[in-house]
């Protein structure tokens, strides 16, 4: 029994026939194509077991890690594409450089005042920070965000960068407030449709544990008084 694999390559969509084996993954099918059919097919992969986050792509229009996506019996016509939101370098290899440019603006490192004593950290506080640090930089959340996909002009920083900011914010040694930076980078554009959370291969609750608390933090720091001031400023401009 053979699978029909449509792979979007730099020079157009090409269709390959791959023999099906039980418990086969998308990555196995791509490796078969590279070994037996098209040696110049380019795609990234490294660990092959969902740890490094290199092999992210789109299968039937949905962002996945290709090493974790198993081919089931009902999948006979499979469409493999590179991640839509990034410029393609070659075939399935993309350039996610712009994410790091946006991330740099959020200062994801220790800055500001230094704490004199290392605070006592308990399991609960550590777990909160640890969840965000499970991120493997696969960019699936970024690719599945419809604001990034359909409204790039908004300049939304993306779920990945919000996770990084939340990880840094929840560190016990952090003293720097990223509220204004996050507001500037467009956290308000997220409409909590939870695609990033649903697709995250590390099961990080991005919407619930990163985006919503940061949204709440922004309102707390700006508040209704901040809003009134903004409205006042707009009226002045008019």
């Amino acid at each position: 029994m053979n699978l029909k694999m449509s792979v979007k390559r730099s020079d157009g969509v090409k269709i390959y026939s791959v023999p099906y084996e039980p418990k086969m993954r998308i990555l196995d099918a791509l490796l078969f194509i590279q070994e037996k059919l098209e040696p110049d097919l380019a795609f990234r992969w490294n660990c092959g077991e969902g740890v490094c986050g290199s092999c992210a792509g789109e299968v039937d229009g949905r962002p996945v890690l290709m090493c974790k996506k198993e081919i089931t019996k009902d999948m006979r016509d499979i469409r493999v594409e590179p991640m839509k939101v990034f410029p393609v370098i070659k075939d399935l290899v993309t350039d996610p450089g712009k994410v790091y440019e946006k991330l740099a603006r959020l200062k994801p490192y220790f800055t500001g005042k230094k704490q004199s004593n290392f605070p006592t950290v308990y399991e609960k506080e550590a777990a909160k920070s640890q969840e965000m640090r499970k991120c493997i930089d696969c960019f699936i959340c970024y690719d599945s965000c419809h604001v990034i996909r359909n409204h790039p002009q908004m300049g939304f920083t993306g779920p990945l960068n919000i996770v990084k900011a939340a990880a840094q914010d929840s560190h016990p040694l952090n003293t720097f407030s990223r509220t204004k930076l996050l507001e500037k980078e467009g956290v308000k554009f997220c409409n909590v449709s939870r695609c990033c959370t649903e697709n995250c291969p590390q099961d990080i609750k991005i919407t619930e544990h990163a985006i919503i608390p940061l949204k709440e933090k922004i309102i707390s720091d700006t508040g209704i008084i901040g809003l009134i001031k903004k409205i006042g400023k707009k009226n002045e401009q008019i």
């Binding site: 006592t120 419809h146 308000k188 909590v192 919503i212 608390p213 709440e216």
Partner: protein, 216 residues
């Protein structure tokens, strides 16, 4: 599909608003006929007139409701990987007001539950109330409690409790701040369940109002 869903949603909202306004207006008229005046009656009247507005506003601005409505009704997007709604301008304003509606609703629900807890036993002992009216009154109280639990599981409350723990550094295992935060986290996990119980409770309540009348 998208336009049809939007049409159904709009019709549902208008119908729900119409039913609620009619019932509230009828109840206020009945209340005015029987009351003798006084500041407490005026407050009660105001409460009866506007309480549902804040409950509706809480639900509309709720993160959980917005997730459901954006995905299932407005198709923003219908499923992950599909394109979102055209002309989406961002969630700039609506989420900022949720917390204020939550606190106002908390005040309303607290007043209602306290007054109901006092009057409910006496109301149940009245012979002239039929079984439908007693059921309505009981369901109203039940919806009040589920709505209180729904409000308590709000992400804004979760954020406040987490801030409470973070603000007090140092050994805190088992202290009241952590306990409070843990309990609220459980409610937050059940936020969606309490949302649906409250919504179905309100619908059932209004059906009972229509058929059985208000118990007073």
């Amino acid at each position: 599909m998208s336009k049809f869903n939007r049409f159904i949603f709009t019709v549902f909202i208008f119908a729900a608003a119409l039913v609620m306004i009619t019932i509230t207006a009828n109840f206020v008229v009945a209340h005015e006929e029987t009351s003798e005046g006084g500041i407490l009656n005026v407050v009660a009247e105001i409460f009866e007139r506007i309480h549902w507005v804040f409950f509706v506003l809480v639900i509309i601005t709720c993160y959980y409701f917005r997730y459901i409505s954006e995905r299932k009704i407005f198709g923003n997007p219908f499923a992950c990987g599909l394109p979102g709604r055209k002309g989406y301008k961002g969630d700039k304003l609506i989420y900022q007001f949720h917390r204020y509606f939550v606190w106002i609703s908390f005040a309303f629900i607290a007043v209602y539950l306290v007054s109901s807890a006092i009057t409910l036993p006496a109301l149940f002992s009245l012979v002239q109330l039929n079984i439908l009216q007693k059921t309505t009154k009981f369901l109203e109280f039940f919806v009040g409690i589920t709505f209180l639990l729904y409000l308590s599981g709000c992400y804004h409350i979760k954020y406040l409790f987490e801030r409470l723990v973070e603000k007090e550094p140092g050994p805190c295992r088992g202290c009241w701040r952590n306990t409070l935060c843990d309990k609220q986290s459980v409610l937050n996990e059940l936020h969606g369940y309490f949302f649906w119980i409250s919504v179905f409770g309100v619908v059932a309540l209004h059906i009972l109002f229509i058929f059985g009348g208000h118990a007073g």
